[in-house]
Amino acid sequence: MAILSKDESQAILKKVIGFSTADECQASLDGRTVGNVRYARNSVSTAGASDNVRLVVESRFGKRSGVATCNEFDDATLRRCVQRAEEIARLAPEDPEYMPLLGPQQYLTPVSYASSTAAITPDYRAQAAGDSIALCSAKGLTAAGYLEDGAYFQALRNNKGLEAYQQSTSIDFSVTVRTPDGTGSGYAVADYTDVSKFNAKALTQAAADKAAGSRNAKALEPGKYTVILEPAALVSDEGLLNNLMYNLGAREADEGRSFLSKKGGGNKLGEKLFDPRITIYSDPLNAQAPGGVFDGEGMPVKRINWVEKGVVKNMYYSRYWAQKTGKQATPFPGNFIMEGGTQSVQDLIKSTEKGILVTRLWYIRDVDPQTLLYTGLTRDGTFYIENGKIKFPIKNFRFNESPVIMLNNVEAIGKPVRLGGNLVPPLKIRDFTFTSLSDAV
């Protein structure tokens, strides 16, 4: 039930639109079938599964808009949902930023669904957790991990002729392996569209190697160091690159409250802000990290360059702000892809005279939005490199750094890998600022 086909979902949406008496009506259906397993202390702690489909109806009278939702789809419920959206709309204040609904659009054909992932069972999850635990138990190490997978769909229709549908799947896995004495910790994380690429044992092995290798870390003085940031140190829910991408909004920049605001007014679109080797774009059809082909309003998502050879090429313009400033609207993308080279993390280590390998950055918080300064800490595997080799594990550091400064201090860019639905290379950065030591392992 949770994953409706294009025909099934459009049939429901057509009915909804048919019940509407509003000037404008847009309805969307989205659904998911998801499952997870969580383990810690080498034992499964929780496991769950759920599915859900939701209808969202937006009705508009002039510039007044109301939204209602429901999760049952018989005619009476659908009719009530539409009526409720219309009642709420009549009572709502006028929206000064009103934009008319979009008409028919042309979309790319999405490539973000794998039937193998949609077919994952609770037994599969238990097996993956069991494999990860067994590998660690055998080595006298302790595993804590989380596996979550899901199949998703989204369908959209309005009374202006817009019609859209897309499906996607994903599987996300992360594992932290610790030594029983608490002196070593390692981490691995990965996500895929197609589960057939997933290997719990290989990822756990990588985390276990880091845990064993990070025992008895030495303390280095805080200061500026050349660092090799693995992709997991660049991308996470709060990652430095994610934060850079979240801050590409044109409106905030034009309003004067963004790192992209220009002295005296306006924004820095077209200015060179980063090293010329930095190119970041979004592409929903990237085979390795595909994304959605339309956004919540039904705007088509296509390939777009955000940073090209260090120059800010595009910023996010909502439809309202684009109209107000005479620009093209740009939807919020489903992924980002940072171009890189062919070098692995190992290759980057080999070419490093003195430096620090960082597995993961954690608890990243903004310090100053003016300069995009962030703070956070290294975690789960930090090592000192000398003459092309890892010499010894080191204690964790707190950093205070801006991705804008960081992407001007680029020494080398490795081969991109998928993480968090994006493609991100490991980066070698000079003069990365560590401001204090942490005893945390």
């Binding site: 810690a40 989380y146 991408m245 007014g265 919020f332 100053d368 001007n408 639905g421 204090s436 945390a440």
Partner: protein
């Protein structure tokens, strides 16, 4: 990046909460009037709960609990002169947790009928039995008496859902107007309201009906100097509270004057959003030309509205037993305050530091009569005279530290999610000697006064932290000497709490809190308060956070 990450971030990053794309607090969007309709009668809930408990026992469960929950919420967002979003949400269903073959199993359903409940109970038992195959040690629950049919309600004066949406919008827009009149370039404001109507029943013989209310008014004011391109924000000095709308009806007795020379006011059990918005705009403007801090060691005087988060991060999370034991190792992290560390009996803080966990404190976010596994709540010492004396525990953890009683710290954000250990209200006790903030500042030769919440970050074992604030003042020779900028302090938890040199008295004590504290995988939020009075910490390392970019 994907949408899921984006939405996830909005729950974590203070700045991102102002994005108008932030969805309602969950549930099905409903008409505001729906939030006032009564839920099921307790007698009906008892019948439904018994259907689940009996089904679980028949399927082989040795223990079962049921939570029938109706979770209501409303959020209002505005910016400058306009409303951005008003959303009212309702979520209704039941979660059933069982122990079978010595292993936990959980299932939830929105089919709240006898048949639906029984089916979910059977599924929970099935999941428990499947997981039992990889279980090493059977679950051991601390004994818990059944309370029979009881109820508890947050002692509110005005149910926020009874206040017309228009009044709330008008109040936020009036606050925005105050900020704009006083020089703000932009202002965003919001009001979050939550009502959890939850019914708990277990095979121990408890049938507990609770009605819990929380509220959080908030704003962020931005001042911009176009010529220099500089911008600065000042956040609201409100606190999220376990109260009704009365929190937004200011009363003189709840106002405590801040340090002389700052214009600041502390708010106890009611908040004057208009007064604070006006001051915020003036201070945001002042910050544009404020002196940049010279890094070095300073004595810090910390306002309760700031110190709350420091307590939360460096003591609250560090003393959660699930973190100590490694259950959160893959995400939130572990803790330096291990059982071995505690056994050494070394000081966590100076002798002035007394930290109490309290699930009953009136007005607090964590106050409930019973937790989400049917344990009657209470209060207990975490740090006594500077020494760590206890942790925060739930039923299946107590035996690991040689205790036979839960602390009542079990919570789930909804009926759909499994309950687990969450932070109790964790508060620093006020000083025993009479001491006002002005008297405290008078004793400081070179220091910084910090108010409000800003950037906060701490490592996964809770040693190393860096905290900012929303407004900073230099203290020179016992007096406030002007506003400062670019301030953050970096510290080690144990060093920091051992540098605690003075705490103001009870009359200065007030609550701060976290409305969206995240933990677990999949992540769940909980709300928790932290009380304190102004507190002095000696010789803390302060850094300058100003940078230059292209």
């Amino acid at each position: 990046m994907n949408r899921r990450d984006f939405v996830g971030l909005t729950g974590l990053a203070a700045g991102a909460i102002w994005l108008p794309s932030v969805p309602a607090l969950g549930g099905t969007l409903v008409d505001p009037a729906r939030l006032l309709e009564p839920g099921l009668d307790p007698a009906v809930k008892k019948r439904l709960a018994d259907a689940a408990l009996n089904a679980a026992k028949s399927a082989g469960a040795t223990y079962a609990d049921v939570r029938i929950g109706r979770y209501l919420n409303q959020s209002v967002f505005t910016r400058e002169k306009q409303v951005q979003n008003i959303a009212s949400g309702e979520s209704f269903g039941a979660g059933i947790r069982v122990i079978a073959n010595g292993t936990w199993g959980f299932a939830s359903t929105n089919q709240v009928t006898e048949a639906g409940m029984a089916k979910a109970a059977q599924l929970a038992v099935q999941i428990a039995k499947a997981n039992a195959k990889v279980q090493k040690e059977p679950v051991k629950l601390a004994p818990q008496q059944g309370y029979g049919e009881v109820s508890w309600k947050t002692p509110i004066q005005v149910n926020a859902f009874e206040v017309p949406v228009k009044d709330k919008v008008d109040l936020l827009l009036a606050a925005n107007a105050k900020a704009l009149e006083n020089g703000a370039s932009f202002v965003n404001s919001a009001l979050f309201q939550i009502n959890e109507q939850k019914y708990f029943a277990s095979t121990d013989g408890s049938y507990i009906d609770q009605d819990i209310h929380r509220i959080w008014p908030n704003f962020s004011v931005t001042a911009i100097d176009r010529a220099s391109g500089k911008f600065r924000t000042r956040e609201a000095l409100s606190s999220p509270m376990g109260m009704g709308y009365e929190y937004l009806q200011p009363k003189a007795q709840d106002k405590i004057a801040g340090p002389a020379g700052t214009g600041l006011t502390g708010y106890k059990y009611s908040y004057d959003i208009l007064e604070d918005a006006a001051l915020a705009a003036k201070q945001a403007k002042e910050k544009l030309t404020a002196k940049s801090v010279v890094p070095g060691k300073y004595d810090l005087v910390l306002d309760p509205n700031h110190l709350g988060l420091t307590i939360h991060e460096s003591i609250g999370h560090a003393t959660e037993l699930d973190r100590v034991l490694g259950y959160e190792a893959n995400y939130a992290g572990t803790s330096f305050a291990t059982l071995e560390w505690k056994a050494k009996n070394q000081p966590y803080g100076s002798k002035l530091v007394n930290i109490v966990a309290d699930k009953t404190q009136p007005g607090s976010l964590g106050a409930v009569g019973f937790d989400d596994e049917g344990v009657k709540t209470g209060q207990w010492d975490i740090i006594k005279d500077g020494k760590l004396v206890d942790y925060q525990k739930i039923r299946d953890q107590a035996h690991i530290v040689g205790q036979n009683k839960s602390d009542g710290c079990c919570y789930s954000q909804s009926w759909q999610d499994v309950q687990f250990q969450r932070m109790a209200n964790i508060s620093l006790q006020p000083g025993k000697e009479k001491l006002s903030v002005d008297q405290m500042i008078a004793g400081v030769d070179k220091g910084i006064y910090i108010a409000g919440r800003g950037s906060f970050s701490i490592d996964q074992q809770r040693y190393n932290s860096q905290f900012g604030g929303t407004v900073f003042y230099s203290i020179e020779k016992g007096k406030i000497a002007g506003i400062l900028e670019d301030v953050a302090y970096q510290t080690n938890t144990v060093e920091f709490w051992n540098s605690c040199a003075a705490i103001c008295d009870q009359s200065d004590y007030r609550l701060f809190g976290s409305f969206f504290d995240g933990k677990g995988q999949p992540s769940q939020v909980s709300a928790v308060s932290h009380g304190s009075a102004h507190t002095r910490f000696n010789s803390v390392n302060v850094i300058n956070t100003a940078r230059k970019i292209g």
